[in-house]
């Protein structure tokens, strides 16, 4: 399987890439790690006339701290997330999730930004960034703007990013001491998308939930923030009744498609189960 023909461009700067995107218009696609786009091109689900490869733009890679915010270049690879001592200390949910994505070879190529900008509900970083309260820097011909993860994922393969924009960085609040986190992902085998996944960031005041963010993977047309489940937990101890209610609220928000990974009822039940496990794992880390 060979992709259809296209012209290849390898800009060295974000400005150059935005210029190409502007002049080539809707016939161009941005190439990040390529592990979604190239398979789609082989299958003729995508046939862009131009590929703009972002891999030569060094400024899009790297992880740094700006005050209380971690700034991660969009072209940072999954394995670089896993290896980052800074992330392990201040946003450990990201490396925890990256370890559950694909396999070692694919994680060398797959990028944080590509995973997000693709808009695939099966990808893991959308739910992770929702749970973390992350925001995204989008750069276009008229400058940059910030879009919160909460406002970014509009539908399957549909995001708030305009055609002439590039996702340049992901901004994640550094985690305060005493915060618990967990990502639970049910998958059939290495490299598979989630049957269902749940990301949790949690703070307890004594035994009582004082802050919580919950997001779900692959159980709706987009990654899903489970706000009703969050609301039911606030101010309550994380006991069996609270776990039950949170899972019930999360399951009520699910709208998965039947596929080889299971039918709607199974996927919905697994989303509830993953959330229970993630809440308990996060609480144990608080």
């Amino acid at each position: 399987m060979i992709p259809p023909q296209f012209e290849y461009h390898a800009p060295r700067s974000v400005g150059e890439a935005i210029g190409l995107l502007g002049s080539l218009g809707g016939d161009a696609k941005l190439l990040a790690g390529g592990h979604s786009l190239l398979p789609m091109m082989k299958l003729r689900f995508a046939a862009p006339a131009h590929l703009i490869d972002l891999n030569r733009i060094d400024a899009l890679r790297g992880i740094r701290e700006e005050g209380d915010t971690l700034v991660i270049g969009a072209m940072t690879s999954e394995n670089a997330l896993i290896a980052s001592a800074l992330l392990q200390a201040k946003a450990p949910l990201l490396p925890e999730a990256a370890r559950l994505i694909a396999d070692p070879q694919v994680r060398n190529r797959g990028t944080l930004g590509g995973d997000i900008a693709h808009g695939d509900p099966g990808n893991d970083h959308p739910a992770i960034t929702l749970a973390l309260g992350a925001s995204f820097t989008l750069q276009g011909p008229n400058g940059t703007r910030q879009v919160a993860a909460d406002d970014f994922f509009l539908g399957t393969y549909l995001t708030a990013m305009a055609e002439d924009e590039i996702l340049t960085e992901v901004r994640v609040p550094a985690q305060a001491a005493g915060t618990g986190w967990a990502y639970q992902k049910l998958k059939r085998k290495t490299g598979d998308f989630a049957t269902a996944g749940a990301a949790v960031v949690l703070r307890l005041d004594g035994r009582v939930v004082s802050q919580v963010r919950i997001a779900l993977t692959n159980v709706a047309p987009t990654a899903l923030r489970a706000t009703a489940a969050e609301a039911t937990l606030l101010g309550r101890p994380l006991d069996e009744a609270a776990l039950h209610d949170a899972a019930a609220q999360a399951m009520a928000a699910c709208d998965p498609a039947d596929d080889l990974r299971g039918d709607r009822a199974y996927k919905t039940a697994m989303a509830g189960q993953m959330l229970r496990r993630a809440l308990l794992a996060a609480a144990a880390r608080c």
Binding site: M1, I2, G34, H35, P104, V106, G191
Partner: protein, 163 residues
Amino acid sequence: MAKQLLTVQINGKTVEKAVEPRSLLVHFLREDCHLTGAHIGCETSHCGACTVDIDGQSVKSCTHLALQCEGSDVRTVEGLAAGGVLHAVQEGFYQEHGLQCGFCTPGMLMRAWRFLQDNPDPSEAEIRAGMAGNLCRCTGYQNIVKAVQYAAAKLREQQPATA
């Protein structure tokens, strides 16, 4: 589409060829460079039979454009044995029966070669996680794990830790 000139190091030799933008690295290696060690298995980045090394990282060459290797250092299984002597990972797969049909073996070898440079003294669990991107339908993996353990021990013997 017009071909573009690609200059790349492959197993230490400079290769310069005009390639189509859509040419995948695995096709470039096999058809243009006649290096048929990297195998085309699934062609969807699942099986790992096409694994090669690019600038110190294991990569599935079926999901990588040849042109993306401009200026890179690419290593394939053809570059493993030196002077007719098998590399320790090759010897390990031979000694421990780490293959039956052999189709996955070039990818296994290249992945094991890089993995053991990143982690010279791995546990069994680390080997299984490190080799998780390579599928084998014959062996059941037990002998592949043993082969990697054999190679790890031999490499540590050859290059004792300097620390």
